[in-house]
Amino acid sequence: MGRTLAEKVWDDHVVRRAEGEPDLLFIDLHLLHEVTSPQAFDGLRKSGRTVRRLDLTIATEDHNTPTLDIDKPIADPVSRVQLETLRKNAAEFGVRLHPLGDVEQGVVHVVGPQLGLTQPGMTVVCGDSHTSTHGAFGALAFGIGTSQVEHVLATQTLPMSRPKTMAITVDGELPEGVTAKDLILAIIARIGTGGGQGYVLEYRGEAIEKLSMEARMTICNMSIEAGARAGMIAPDETTFAYLKGRPHAPEGEEWDAAVAYWKTLRTDDDAEFDAEVVIDAAELSPFVTWGTNPGQGAPLSASVPDPASYEDASERYAAEKALEYMGLEAGQPLRSIKVDTVFVGSCTNGRIEDLRAAAELLKGRKVADGVRMLVVPGSARVGLQAVSEGLDVVFKEAGAEWRHAGCSMCLGMNPDQLAPGERSASTSNRNFEGRQGKGGRTHLVSPQVAAATAVLGHLASPADLSDADVRTPAGV
């Protein structure tokens, strides 16, 4: 019988297989950041171990980094210690590090792909659950805990039990104005936050094949919000074109050998998945969340659901709690929800295409009075690219704040946070209670919905904007 993409990549990385034991997998790329690595380096030090493969390891700073005044000392002493700890560990153990202020600094899941370090058929790990992002290249990529970070540093391997596989087939074409973010939010609402638990998801079908690499990263990024450790998309010409010429992409004969291998990384026609979900792309529309987990979402055209409509008692209770926390009423149209803050950025939607999409809608328009909009590029390079295209000017003329790269308000470990009771439309990945700041309320949206919401002051899609909103001549 044939094998799925995930099974092929898995099999190619088995270092050791023994009856009754998890497989020992080789790890091709280990990404590090300041939050989940200090205790791992400490463990190495205590046991007198070193980093086995410095040439497969790279670190950057993202979770704690400020997005303003990056040339000044970091104000929060605890954040500063954590960043200094990473710098000390990188120097002591010899790990390549891109610190704050470096041109290659940024959110770890934006940095890896843009350097060309993430390639098809690789195993990629990082002490961060959104490592699933790299699956967009046909890599098997998953988040790990700090004990596993230490394990990979010491051995470049991980003992892992083979996951099951689930196909998410998206047939047809996404309607105009419907993005990868809307699609993944709809998938999570459909299968639930635990639906992918124990599985590697493979996104396939016509709608997926038509997506750009950046849109594919948005999809795979949020696999973890459906409970799946990894999500994958088979590599194709779109993938190869994205990689060609990147700093760490193979060249010459090596490129040819790599592409020949990459082309084998497709699920065989006679392979069987353990589960399959089919989605009709044509039925989708802009999608937003109303609750406090990423599965609590609905089309923007819908209303806040009535908890009483849930048959399952624990879901009903979760919906009641969510409405209470979010300060929403059952039956209230989602479009009527007013926001205080709009955040564009994160490993989900902080790449150049995301910034272009938001800027296109903001061009000549203004952020609504009383709304604060933060635009945070996913990496320093994305920021530079945006500046070279004049996007920063568009954002600033619209009244948005243009910031430096980092995780920023996605999780509020730096000063970019919501105040208690404040409500955001956010292009990030988690709407958990307090995620963006204590008492903060988060609605997950696409960059396009974020931009339209910023202009109108309430949850809105680009279709809600009219030419009348264009108040000033275009900035560029």
Partner: protein, 197 residues
């Protein structure tokens, strides 16, 4: 890691589903660079509410958390496991755990036990009615016992052996170092390296 054989203790019934790791330990606690001192951050937002179950005097000293489905979703932060352990929990029972959280817990000797929801319901009822009721989590016989309840649970033999003996994963893996070296020797040369180019 500390070995886990069997544990008996009072319980905290947590009737919530989808308890994500941001609830277990909020992000601002993640700035610490040690593995201890996270106990005050455990369920920090909910603990501000005096009626929250963890704040009840009769729950002080409880060591078994009985949680709703999909416990530990979201972020991979191992700090969530450390916070539960720092607070004093030895075992967590739920009908479904998020994968990364489960892996992290088993690597730290916090036993996560999967039981059917109807057994979880029975444990909730028992421990809500009688806060002094004790639950035994027996890894040797793979069984959870409480008054009127006996339920077998599954855990793969390899994880069980590591927990029972408190074995360090890295030492076990390094016993197979020649296999790693052999694999490395045959990796294709087109695979990328992180060294500056």
């Amino acid at each position: 890691m500390e070995a886990f054989t069997t544990h008996t203790g009072r319980a905290v019934p947590l009737r919530r589903s989808n308890v994500d790791t941001d609830q277990i330990i909020p992000a601002h606690w993640l700035k610490k660079v040690t593995r201890d001192g996270f106990e005050d951050g455990l369920f920090e937002a909910w603990r501000k509410d005096p009626s929250f179950v963890l704040n009840q005097p009769e729950r002080q000293g409880a060591t078994v958390l009985v949680a709703g489905p999909d416990f530990g979703t979201g972020s991979s932060r191992e700090h969530a496991v450390w916070a539960l352990q720092n607070y004093g929990f030895k075992a967590v029972i739920s009908s479904r755990f998020a994968d990364i959280f489960r892996g992290n817990s088993l690597k730290n000797g916090l036993l996560t036990v999967v039981l059917e929801q109807k057994i979880v319901d029975a444990l909730w009822e028992l421990t809500e009615k009688d806060p002094q009721a004790e639950i035994t989590v027996d890894l040797e016989s793979r069984e959870v016992r409480a008054e009127g309840i006996t339920a077998a649970f599954e855990l793969d033999e390899n994880s069980r052996w590591r927990l029972l003996n408190g074995l360090d994963d890295i030492s076990i893996t390094l016993q197979n170092e020649p296999d790693i070296a052999a694999y490395e020797a045959k990796r294709p040369s087109f695979k990328p390296r992180t060294l500056p180019v």
